[in-house]
Amino acid sequence: MNVVVTPAMLGQVVISGILSGALYAMVALGLALIFGVMRIINVAHGPLLMLGAYATYFLSTAVSMAMLFVVGVLLERTLVFRVVDAPELSSLLLTFGVSIALVNLAQLLFTSDLRSVEYLTGAWVVGPFALSKSRVVAFVFAGALTGLAFLFLGRTKLGKAIRATSQSREVAMVCGIDVQRIHLVTFGLAAALAAAGGALIAVIVAIQPEMGQIWTFKSFLVIVLGGAGNYPGALLGGILLGLIEQVASLFLTTQLSEVVAYVLLVAILLVRPTGLLGGRQT
């Protein structure tokens, strides 16, 4: 493929990259929170996002986030807390089992039909750039929610307790933090962030039960990019992934954008396994 890249095209790509990057950052922040606090990679993160998308389709975004918060808390309370200190094998397999169950439950309940939320269609034209309305709305929403989440983590007592737990569970306990409760809240919060992601994705593309898995992978890629356990890193990683995917789509077909993301993951693990910002500074 021979492409002549004009400055306008490059600008368009950068804008689209940042627009989708905010969404990546928000979804990945959920995964990063659980990993930071509980040392668990929640393989069901993507399927939770899928549930959030369906809840938005049938109800509304706010209800969807509230519902998924509850689902997250229930999941932690009934299953996940049992494997917090178990070897990685257990937590990975357990959340994998949950994710399969969720996907197939969705297939039973909602069938595999593609559904889409018609909310905002078309694009705003600003100078030489076209901004898809739904993507801009998703960006604003995701940016606002991510900002709120960081405010919550940075300023509130509960947020500080979450960060303390992720730095050292023992010391947090000594300081009088109820670690079990922090685990619950973190899981609920992460599920709510996933639900928000699902809601915004539902506006952009059609949804179906198997849409989730790729989001587990992408969120993981984002936290690897930024440094696992490093919350601001998730923000940087999200924007980076968005940019890289868009730039890649300029030179390659969109089919290969997943391949690019994958090669990126392997390359980072080879060169800088602690992520770009280094791991575990909260």
Binding site: I41, V83, F96, G97, L102, L105, F217, Y262, L265, P273
Partner: protein
């Protein structure tokens, strides 16, 4: 006495299975062939995940890679299927080397998630290189009725994977792998080159699925991206190993036979409920009987570790 039985029983079963195609119907041969395939897949997954403790969520990628390597050699280069199957195994091992080298140097879930993505990536690549793979239209192989010879080769592969597991479990190499599984830091402190051992286990675990993939491609005569890279296949092999008992020699065999028969007899009637049950089964086994059926029997009846 018991040692003679332990040796004689598998040999008798193997002989009976070798004679089986003479008396069995086409369907029965095919079903048994499928069981062999699942033994290969589950047994191979057991090597990296059950024995070494590194969960692979994308093991079907090696099955698919082998299937495509084999099918391309057969249809485009006119290779005999047996040679193509061996190269299919080789291709899967090569792929495992490329993925395993960066991902297995690290501890933690990097490997698991990298494997989760691998499958999607291969599917995208296969769709992209249409000239070679036929893309979404799939790849047809020249017609050839070779189900019975493939039955034997697949059976031999299943035996090879099981014997290999036995040899590993009874060797120093196997002990090192299990040490990594139990406590990787301690393993390193004892002087085990963990990265290299994990990589060896991973390479061994890729060969079987590659061969099985190429054999399956030849037997079915047609492959497409959806048919050789389904996540469901990975799920099934994981469930089989967990159910039978991870890290054991016969656990994957037991899991493959029991769950395949259950799938054919009962669950085939409820196509959507059955993967849902598999998900629930994984959760239940992890929480309630993490050692699987054989693990429980081993503890209760003090059976040797090498079962």
């Amino acid at each position: 006495m018991s040692r003679h039985v332990a040796l004689a029983a598998p040999v008798a079963v193997a002989l009976a299975l070798a004679a089986y195609p003479v008396v069995a119907s086409g369907y029965e041969v095919r079903a048994t062939l499928q069981i062999f395939m699942w033994i290969v897949l589950a047994g191979s997954w057991n090597l990296i995940s059950g024995l070494t403790g590194y969960v692979s969520f994308g093991h079907v990628a090696f099955f698919g890679a082998g299937a495509y390597a084999g099918a391309i050699l057969i249809s485009k280069a006119g290779w005999p299927w047996l040679a193509a199957a061996l190269v299919g195994g080789g291709a899967a091992v090569l792929l495992a080397l490329v993925i395993g080298y960066p991902c297995l140097r690290l501890k933690g879930p990097y490997f698991a998630i990298a494997m989760l993505g691998l499958n999607e990536v291969l599917r995208a690549l296969v769709s992209y290189f249409e000239g070679l793979t036929g893309g979404g239209n799939g790849l047809s192989l020249p017609t050839l009725d070779a189900t019975v010879p493939i039955y034997y080769v697949m059976g031999l592969t299943a035996v090879a994977v099981t014997v290999l597991t036995y040899l590993i479990i009874t060797s120093r190499f196997g002990l090192r792998l299990m040490t990594i599984r139990e406590d990787e830091v301690a393993a390193e402190a004892m002087g085990i080159d963990t990265a290299r051992h994990k990589l060896y286990a991973f390479l061994l675990s890729a060969a079987g699925p590659g061969i099985a993939g190429a054999l399956t491609a030849r037997d079915q005569g047609y492959i497409e991206p959806i048919s050789v890279f389904p996540l469901a296949t990975t799920i099934t092999m994981i469930v089989m190993v967990l159910f039978g008992g991870k890290g054991t020699v016969w656990g994957p065999v037991l899991g493959a036979v029991v769950l395949f028969v259950a799938q054919e007899v009962v669950w085939a009637r409820y196509p959507y409920v059955h993967p849902l049950l598999f998900g629930a089964l994984i959760v239940a086994v992890v929480l309630l009987m993490p050692r699987g059926v054989l693990g429980i029997l081993q503890v209760r009846y003090r059976l040797p570790r090498t079962i």
